[in-house]
Symmetry: C2
Subunit: 458 residues, 2 copies
C-alpha cells in the first residue's frame, strides 16, 4: 500500500495483496452460496438512459465510445444521449435491468449475489477509488416480498463479514418510513431534504445540521431539535420504539416504520447479538430506498465510512404493471481490503500458491521432476519444477525469495536407485520423502490469510 | 442461448449458465494455482499510448471519458491523445505494464494467471463478443527466460483444458523463427506480410493464399508453392524437422526455430500425448511474437477458431536496458462457454446453490427453522428457509421450480416433541432426519456441471 497507483484512483494489488482480496471474495461467495444465493454477472456497460433513471449522478459516470467512431466523428454529438454507453457505477441498477430482461427465466423470490468491478469518476481520495469491487446480495420478489427478507439479508451479511479477518463490525439499521413519518409528524414535509441534512451528521455535527435544517428547509428551532433527537436514538434491541414514542410524535407512516424496524432489529438481536443496532441517524443520502436501510462500520475504523450498505426498494424494477420489490446489501470490497492491507489487519503467509519447488541436479531429470510434481499436484499440493540444474544453494535461495516453503531434491543412492528428499527451507530440516504420499502441514499447503495482531487504527 | 443480448455483443448468462462459466473459471484457477501461478488483476483501463504501443488496433478500442468532462467540453479534443483512457482489449498489454511498474516487488521468473473481462469494439458475430472473459497464464523472466517454459505453459494449459467438460482439443504449435527463417531462405524478406497471408489459409484456402503472396508480396509461383508446402506440414512428434529439411531450404534462423519447436513438440508429445501437434501453418496474425506460437482448436468445432492462443515474446516488456521476456497462453473463456452452452456440451444440475429448502408449517417456527439451516450450512450444505408458513404442496412446488432437491419439514410427534423429516422431491421419498448429521448425496450437495452426451456439432 506504500506504492502509488500509476493512474490515480485505479488500484492494483501485488500478488500477496491480491491473495487477501481473493480470500475475501472466496469467503463471501462461500457464505452467499451456503445461503442459496445464485451468482450472476452483468455487463460492464449500461445505456446512459438506464444509469440516470434513478437520479442525478451523471457527474460520476464514465462514458464509453468506440475510438473509431470518435475519430470519424460519427459518435453521438449529445454527451447526454440516453443511448450512449457508460460503465456501471454500482451493481443495483444493472441487476434491476437484468431482472426485467430475464424475468421469464428466473424463479422468484430470486436470491442473487454479484461480485464485480464498478467505476465512478469521483475525485480520488482516501477510501475512494475510481475503479473498485463490490459484492452485493439481493433478494427480489415478483409483486411482493416478505419483510422477513430484510432481516434475512442482514443476517447473511453478518455471517459473511464475521467470517473475514476484520475484527468487530456493526450493522446500523434504520427505516425510511420511520424517519419520513416522524418528519411529517413534526411538520417537515421535505423528507428527502431532511434526510440529506441528517446524512451529514457524522461529518459536520448536530449544530451544523440544525442550522442546515433551519436555513435550507425552513424548519423551526423546535423542529430541528426534534429531528436531531430522533437521530440520536441508538439501541441494540427494540427499546428504540419506546424512545421514539417518548418524543410524542404521531404519524401512521411512523408507526409502520417502527413496526418494520422493530421486526428487523429484534431478529438481528436474537440471531446475531452484538452485530447490529437500530441507529436512527442512518439516512443513506440520495439512494431511493423505501423502507429498511443499512450501513456497516468497522469498529475502530469508523472514519472509513460504511463498508456494507443497502436497503429495501418497493420497486427495485418494474415491467409494465409488474413490480419487483427488492432488499439487499453491498460490500465495498476494495475499500475494505485497502484498509485490511494498510492497517496490516490480514496478511498472506506467502505470495505464490507453490508449496513445493522441485529442484534439478541435472538437466536430464526435468521430465522425471515433472512426474514428481504431477504426483504432488494430484493430491492438491501446488508444485513447480526448476527449468535447469543449479547448485543447491541457488535453488534454495530461489524458493526462499518466492516464499516457497519446501524444496524437493532427487538423488541416487550408492546402488544408483532414485532417492527423494524434501527440505523445509525455514527450519533447514531435510527428510526422505515419497512423492506419492508426502504431504505438507495444512498451514503450508496453500497460502494462509491470517488476522495480524490488532493494531491501533491510525 | 436462445435469448438475445439486449446490447449486441454484450452477453449475460442466466444463473444456470453462469454456473457453467463459474465451473470453467474455478477449474482453470485450480489448475493454474497447482502449477504455482499467482493470480493478479489489472485495472480495466489503460492509456491509449499504452494500448497502441504494439500496433494499429485502435479501431477495436473503447475509449473512456468522464461524462462531466464531456459535458463541460474539457475532455481532450484529440480522439487519439495518448493520455486518453480506454478499456483494455487483452490482458497481455496490461500485464506487461504491471510487470514494469512492479518489477521491484516481483520475484522472477514470475508466474501469473489473470482472468478478467476485456472489451473490443468489433462487429459482433458468432463467436465474437464485444465484452468477453479471458484466462491467461504467462511466465515472465528478468533478462532471460529458459525455453523450457514454452513447453511448460502449454502443458499447464493442456491439463487445464483437459479438466473441462469440453471433449478433445488440440494445441497447434509453430515457431516464428522457423517460419521467418524459411521465408528468408527462399528469398521472401517481408516475413510479417507472408505470415499475414498464411494466417488466412483456413479461411480462403491455398490457391487464394498463393495468389495473395504473388500479387501483394511479389513472390514467384515457386516461392508461393514453397511457403505453402511449409504451411502444410503437421506432425504429432518431431518428424516435422525432417519434412522441413526435405524442402531443401537453408537458413540460420530456420535452424534455430526448428530446434526450438522440436524441443517444445517433443516434450508435449512425451508428456501430453495426443494433446498437441506441430502445425507449420500457425501464424498468429499481427501479434508480435518472436518464437513459439500456439493456437488451440476444439475437435469437432474447428470452425469456432482458436480457444486458446499465445506465444513467446523476447521482450514482453522493457524498462530502460532491462528486458522482460515472456511466454504465455490465453483462453477465450466466453467463446468457449458460449459453445459449451449452445451445443449443450455441459449442463448445470440445478440453477441455485441451495440443496435444502427448510419449509415452515407455522410462522412462529422461522427462527427454529433458521437454526436447522445453520446446522446444515455449518457442514457445507447450502440451505434456505421459507419466509412464511404455506401448505406442503406449495412449498414443494416452490422448491421444485427452483431446482432445489430436498425439502425439510419440522413437525411434532404425539408427545409434542420436535421432529424432523426431509423429502427428496424427485423421488418423493421422505425420511426422518437429524439436522446435526443428515447429509445429501455428494451429487446433490452442490450444483454439478456435467458433460452432456456428445452431440453432432452444427
Amino acid at each position: 500500500m506504500s506504492r502509488k497507483a500509476s493512474l490515480s484512483g485505479f488500484h492494483e494489488w501485488l500478488p500477496a495483496e491480491r491473495l487477501v482480496e481473493q480470500h475475501v471474495l472466496d469467503t463471501l461467495r462461500r457464505t452467499f452460496e451456503l445461503h442459496g444465493f445464485a451468482g450472476i454477472e452483468t455487463r460492464a456497460v449500461e445505456t446512459l438512459g438506464q444509469l440516470l433513471r434513478k437520479g442525478e449522478i451523471d457527474k460520476e459516470v464514465y462514458a464509453v465510445s468506440r475510438l473509431a467512431e470518435d475519430a470519424e466523428g460519427t459518435s453521438a454529438k449529445d454527451p447526454n444521449d440516453p443511448k450512449r454507453l457508460a460503465l456501471h457505477f454500482d451493481l443495483t441498477v444493472p441487476f434491476a435491468r437484468y431482472v426485467v430482461e430475464n424475468a421469464g427465466h428466473l424463479a422468484f423470490p430470486f436470491r442473487r449475489f454479484q461480485m464485480q468491478k464498478v467505476w465512478r469518476g469521483e475525485r480520488p481520495q482516501e477510501g475512494r477509488a475510481r475503479e473498485f469491487t463490490q459484492a452485493d446480495i439481493d433478494v427480489v420478489g415478483d409483486g411482493e416480498l416478505s419483510p422477513r427478507y430484510d432481516a434475512d439479508v442482514a443476517l447473511v451479511m453478518a455471517e459473511a463479514l464475521g467470517a473475514l479477518p476484520i475484527g468487530d463490525f456493526l450493522i446500523r439499521v434504520n427505516n425510511r418510513k420511520l424517519a419520513e413519518g416522524f418528519y411529517r409528524g413534526i411538520g417537515l414535509t421535505d423528507a428527502a431534504g431532511v434526510l440529506r441534512s441528517i446524512d451529514k451528521l457524522e461529518k459536520i455535527g448536530p449544530d451544523e445540521v440544525a442550522r442546515l435544517l433551519q436555513e435550507e428547509l425552513g424548519a423551526t428551532e423546535e423542529q430541528a431539535r426534534q429531528a436531531l433527537e430522533l437521530a440520536a436514538i441508538r439501541t441494540e434491541d427494540t427499546s428504540f420504539v419506546e424512545q421514539v414514542r417518548a418524543l410524542g410524535v404521531e404519524d401512521e407512516l411512523l408507526e409502520e416504520g417502527l413496526a418494520e424496524l422493530a421486526d428487523v432489529v429484534g431478529t438481528l438481536h436474537r440471531r446475531a447479538p452484538g452485530r447490529a443496532v437500530a441507529d436512527l441517524s442512518i439516512a443513506r443520502g440520495l439512494d431511493y430506498y423505501t423502507g429498511t436501510v443499512y450501513e456497516t462500520v468497522l469498529v475502530g475504523h469508523e472514519q472509513l465510512g460504511s463498508i456494507c450498505s443497502g436497503g429495501r426498494y418497493d420497486a427495485l424494477a418494474s415491467k409494465g404493471n409488474r413490480v419487483f420489490p427488492g432488499v439487499g446489501l453491498s460490500i465495498g470490497v476494495t475499500r475494505l481490503v485497502m484498509r485490511m492491507l494498510s492497517q496490516e489487519m490480514a496478511v498472506a503467509s506467502r505470495s505464490v500458491p507453490t508449496a513445493v519447488y522441485v529442484a534439478l541436479t541435472q538437466d536430464a531429470d526435468w521430465s522425471e521432476a515433472q512426474d514428481v510434481a504431477a504426483l504432488l499436484r494430484e493430491r492438491g499440493i501446488p508444485a513447480e519444477v526448476a527449468v535447469s540444474a543449479e547448485k543447491f544453494g541457488k535453488q534454495i535461495k530461489y524458493a526462499d525469495r518466492r516464499g516457497i516453503p519446501y524444496v524437493w531434491f532427487m538423488g541416487r543412492d550408492d546402488a544408483g536407485t532414485r532417492t527423494h528428499e524434501v527440505k523445509d527451507i525455514r527450519s533447514g530440516e531435510q527428510t526422505a520423502a515419497d512423492p506419492a504420499d508426502w504431504t505438507p502441514s495444512a498451514e503450508d499447503l496453500l497460502p494462509q490469510i491470517t488476522r495480524a495482531e490488532d493494531v491501533d487504527p491510525a
